[in-house]
């Protein structure tokens, strides 16, 4: 009777509670949720939905405001002084508004997951169980993982792949880039999500390296981890210096060109690159040498001719070159580029990669992410393939030369390689776990042979 009274007096009718619970149970069956008994507890269905659909904060927000708006009215506020009573009404009103906002946000996530129209939100606001019944029972609506970023997509338990975690024979080197990335994870409220796991490799100086991987494999996360911007549980050595331990100095030895052209349009090309040089080149370098480096970088990137023009007036290809020149001017030992050829046609992209090859030939390590590698694959020395395992965690599926990659994946193009490890949802063959395991065995064998 007490529970019944709680439910009724709290403003939640038994009918609504029953309908909502059944709606959540049907949804849980369709989506394969565990611990379905929790869905009978008032309010908890929304929290579970938030957790399962990667909207845990909204789930908790709804659950807490739901609890407070349900429990608070049980106190005898009407007997309290007027000001306290008014305060209660105000607090209750605010909490109710927040409860509604969280419910709307959860509804939007649900609709997005099912690719349903946003107009359904009206039904969700007024009759949530009806919306749950429709999405759970209709064959028309199917859930999808959507195009979310690495952190949201990441799973809470990496797949257990034989050999991948036993890769203990890896030896770091004092020359080139040596990566021992044990784990990169984030904490999302109650859950630990794994973005990357067990990636060990040595890249020699003078290499132009291609970083491949499907959507959500963790390419950008990997890059941010190795340049020290987003630290992982890892040891990263650049020519013997630990990037994590001495990040303050090491960051000047690393150049990173991001996906977007993050440059001010209202300055000249010359001043933009000169300011980058002044910011990044050590004070000990004489002004003449600094000027020479600036001019060399501009010449290499073909920017000398229009150097007095405004950045904002330049074409997309020129902007990419300016972005590269800004990083190149500091003469970094490790040069990382995230999709430098995006928006460029084949001829210009080829020219750009030829310039990157020239940079690598000066003894630097150039690491590149690109979605159209096959047109320039002959320029690369090495390929890193990241794959998303069945536990939605980024893992190393291959590291070697492009020829070895073709043989390993039995595909004659890099796009074919990506399709091998991409999930079936993403149009791939869904063989990520298999190749991660195969590569782990291969790498272990190579190291064993090297040790002997």
């Amino acid at each position: 009777m007490v529970i019944l009274s709680f439910v009724l007096d709290g403003g939640v009718s038994i009918l609504e509670w029953l309908a909502t619970s059944i709606g959540f149970l049907l949804l849980a069956r369709k989506l394969g949720w565990q611990k379905r008994w929790q869905l009978w507890i008032p309010g908890l269905g929304y929290l579970r939905m938030g957790q399962e659909l990667d909207a845990e904060r909204d789930g908790w927000g709804f659950f807490i405001t739901y609890l407070l708006t349900t429990v608070l009215p049980f106190f005898p506020w009407e007997k309290a002084p007027d000001k306290v009573y008014l305060g209660f009404i105000l607090v209750h009103l605010i909490l109710s508004v927040f409860r509604l906002i969280y419910r709307i946000r959860l509804g939007l996530t649900l609709l997005r997951t099912y690719h349903a129209k946003k107009t359904w939100l009206i039904l969700w606001i007024f009759v949530p169980p009806a919306m749950l019944f429709i999405l759970a029972l209709s064959d028309r609506y199917h859930p999808d993982s959507g195009e979310l970023d690495d952190e949201v997509k990441a799973g809470t338990a990496p797949a257990e792949i034989e050999g991948a975690e036993e890769h203990k024979g890896f030896a770091m080197k004092d020359t080139g880039l040596s990566i021992d990335l044990r784990e990169r994870s984030v904490r999302d409220l109650s859950k630990k999500r794994y973005l990357l796991k067990d990636i060990q490799l040595n890249i020699p100086n003078g290499s132009l390296v291609l970083l491949l991987g499907g959507s959500g494999a963790g390419k950008t996360t990997f890059i941010n981890a190795i340049i020290g911007y987003e630290k992982a549980d890892a040891t990263i050595l650049l020519n013997g210096s630990d990037i994590y331990k001495d990040y303050g100095r090491m960051k000047y030895r690393i150049g990173f060109v991001q996906q977007q052209n993050l440059i001010r349009g209202s300055d000249t090309v010359l001043h933009t690159i000169d300011d980058a040089a002044r910011l990044r080149i050590p004070r000990e370098v004489p002004a003449e040498e600094r000027k020479k480096r600036r001019e060399d970088a501009m010449a290499l990137m073909g920017l000398t001719a229009g150097s007095q023009g405004l950045v904002g007036k330049k074409s997309g290809g020129m902007l990419r070159r300016i972005s590269i020149a800004m990083e190149l001017v500091s003469d970094p030992e490790l040069f990382v580029l995230d999709e430098p050829d995006s928006g460029l046609d084949g001829v210009i992209a080829r020219e750009l990669f030829t310039q990157l090859r020239a940079i690598a030939d000066t003894g630097k390590i150039v690491l590149v992410i690109t979605h159209t590698p096959d047109r320039v694959i002959d320029l690369f020395d090495k390929v890193i393939v990241l794959a998303r395992d069945s536990g939605r965690c980024g893992r190393l599926a291959f590291y070697g030369s492009p020829e070895e990659a073709h043989a390993f994946f039995e595909r004659d193009s890099m796009e074919g390689v990506v399709l091998r490890v991409n999930s079936k949802d993403a149009g791939g063959e869904g063989l990520a776990d298999e190749y991660i395991e195969r590569y782990a065995r291969l790498a272990a064998g190579k190291e064993e042979a090297a040790a002997q």
Binding site: D149, T220, N224, Y229, R249, K251, Y252, R253, F256, Q258, Q260, L262, I263, R264, G265, S266, D267, T268, H271, D275, A276, R278, L279, R280, P282, R283, E284, L310, E327
Partner: protein, 313 residues
């Protein structure tokens, strides 16, 4: 091999970015804020400039309008400057930029803009033949005192907007916040709305409040005549009392003896406002508080930008 290398420090980076902002002033058409300031100043002075620094009512209304011009200029100078290039600043921070240097460069650049806008505002007042204060309270020149006050109001509001710009992730969010900041300033100016309790305490962080007080003090509000009483008496001049019109008689007598101005000063002497007292202490107090508001805003701006790496990619 690179252990002994040093990189540009905060001061050097400040001037590097100051140079960049000054170039962008030309290339990005930021100079347009100057003619805009002139247009706004002209519009306001045209409406309220007639009795500014002549009567108490004209001084209060005109000072409030001048302060509003300064607030408007200040807010619009910097509300978008940082948030519109937030991703660039984040990249540069990664490349070694100190946030304190970046904000310092913005502060110097914005200060120069504020100086130019204040000079333009004063020039427009002069051209419109506004009776600017002849005698100064702090310096020998009233115009200089007034200019410093207006500059400090512009700069303080500019720095508040800069802090908001540093906190917001994009220009849409910043421009949404700005009207609330403006309304907050107008309400708390103390010129036209009587505030009490907590609202009155909030005035301490209002640039408009200290700006209005200092401008009225420099304009010698308490030494001016009050026209409200004269106008009210004039309005009721035809009221009859026991078959006579005593108010009309009084008005005629005062006018006949040429003592209208004395009447205004006399009535003004009963309308003294201690916040507008023309003393060095009062004006310096107002200026100090405006400086403190600007300083706190600068600190907030730096702290807000120090967390820029937490922005989600």
């Amino acid at each position: 091999m690179n252990t002994k290398q040093t990189y540009r420090g905060r001061v050097s980076q400040t001037f590097l970015y100051l140079g960049k902002f000054l170039r962008m002033f030309v290339y990005q058409n930021d100079w347009k804020v100057l003619p805009m300031a002139a247009i706004i100043a002209a519009a306001v002075v045209f409406v309220v400039g007639g009795n500014l620094f002549v009567t108490q009512e004209g001084t209060l209304m005109g000072s409030f309008a001048l302060v509003c011009v300064c607030l408007w200029n200040g807010f619009f100078n910097s509300i978008q400057v940082v948030c519109r290039e937030r991703a660039i600043v984040k990249r540069e921070h990664r490349a070694g930029l100190h946030m304190s240097s970046y904000v310092a460069a913005q502060v110097i650049y914005q200060f120069l803009l504020c100086v130019a806008q204040t000079v333009i505002l004063l020039l427009v007042c002069r051209l419109a033949k506004v009776a600017l204060p002849a005698q100064g309270t702090i310096t020998r020149w009233g115009v200089l005192d007034l200019g410093i006050s207006l500059l400090l109001v512009t700069f303080a509001s500019d720095m508040m907007a800069l802090a908001v710009s540093c906190m917001m992730k994009n220009t849409t969010a910043a421009m949404t916040v700005m009207p609330f900041m403006l309304i907050f300033q107008l309400l708390l100016s103390g010129g036209f709305f009587q505030l009490s309790g907590f609202a009155a305490k909030l005035r301490v962080v209002s640039a408009s409040y200290w700006g209005l007080n200092s401008v009225c003090a420099i304009g010698r509000y308490n030494e001016q005549g009050m026209v409200t009483l004269w106008n009210t008496v004039f309005k009721f001049r035809n009221i009859e009392f026991m078959g006579e019109k005593p108010l009309l008689e009084i008005i005629r007598t005062i006018e006949k003896e040429g003592k209208v101005n004395d009447f205004l000063l006399w009535s003004g002497s009963y309308n003294q406002n201690e916040l507008f007292v023309s003393t060095v202490e009062n004006v310096l107090h107002c200026w100090t508080l405006l400086g403190v508001i600007a300083l706190v805003s600068i600190v907030v701006a730096i702290i807000a930008l120090e967390f820029i790496d937490r922005d989600r990619r």
